[in-house]
């Protein structure tokens, strides 16, 4: 098994080294936040998830031992679980309180690019498992083996999720493009 590039840093964090804490936040926060933003499509919620993820890291750093997964895969799994908790709560909220009117369209200046906004919306409309696979491989630049391990599925199952996810995105984006 290849060496884990984060192992030494995590060990120092576990020993209470403040410089290691700063270094770990600088190294992992952008990745964790990007993952949560793309999974949830909500920057404020994603920041909450990032904070919760780091609380778990501080709690487990001193006892963290590399098993089958690398530290980066472990924090991705933690972040995804926290995202799923929020997605589940949203579904419950939607089921409990169906709004009378549809959500108003976002303000024109809410998103810098029209294309980016379309992709963001399209990602939120595909199945969460497909979204996870695309975000991990495409945006987080994980290898197929790392992504499959993080999702706890086989590489073949990952490829299937990726293909179906990309096909769904293509369909949604093509339809949205035709509507405009």
């Amino acid at each position: 098994m290849a060496a884990d590039p984060d192992e030494e840093l995590v060990r120092r964090v576990g020993a209470g080294d403040p410089a290691a804490v700063q270094a770990l936040v600088a190294r992992k926060l952008p990745r964790i936040l990007a993952l949560a933003v793309r999974m949830l499509g909500d920057a404020a919620e994603a920041e909450d998830v990032a904070q919760e993820t780091f609380v778990r890291i501080w709690r487990h750093a001193s006892s963290w031992r590399r098993g089958n997964a690398r530290f980066d895969s472990w924090i991705h799994r933690v972040t995804l679980n926290l995202c799923y908790d929020r997605l589940r709560r949203r579904r419950e909220w939607v089921t409990d309180e169906v709004p009378d009117v549809a959500d108003p369209a976002p303000l024109p200046d809410a998103h810098s690019g029209e294309e980016a906004y379309r992709v963001e919306q399209a990602l939120q409309r595909i199945a969460p498992r497909q979204r996870e696979a695309i975000v991990l491989v495409y945006y987080q630049e994980m290898s197929n083996i790392e992504a499959a391990a993080t999702l706890q599925i086989s590489v073949d199952a990952l490829e299937s999720l990726l293909s179906r996810g990309r096909r769904s995105l293509q369909t949604i984006l093509a339809r949205d493009g035709a509507d405009e």
Binding site: P30, A34, Q51, D156, E159
Partner: protein, 150 residues
Amino acid sequence: MAEGSRNEPAMDAKRFATLAEAYGGDLRRWPETERMTGTVFAASEAGEAILKQAGTLDTLLDSYRVDAPGKALHDSIVQVAGRHLVQRRRQRFWWLGLGLAGIGLAGAVAGLALVTIVTPELQPDQTVLDASVTAFGDVGPDAENGEESL
């Protein structure tokens, strides 16, 4: 980036299309073991067409960028870490104190056990002196006999 799951000597159009459909048009995202054979096939006319098609979606996906974390979020996370580290240090001292107290208690128990083992127990045949016994023996019945013989 990607590592491989299969190790095929050559790639056909079907496998190439399957990989492009899953991983997109940038071969750096493909499984490592198939990148080389994929690069060879990519130079063909069919390969170029497949990559071009996958690249259209990639361009759209690339447009969706996420802002870097703000300083406030970074500082807040570091601050929380500081609190956790102080708490953990306190816990560590607490456990250390508890450990030392345990060691002390264990020492006391061991000492007591040692004293119990080393110190001889009171033997059952030993006489307990009471008021009727003198250094010369029991003054009870013998004394009475002596008086009678006088």
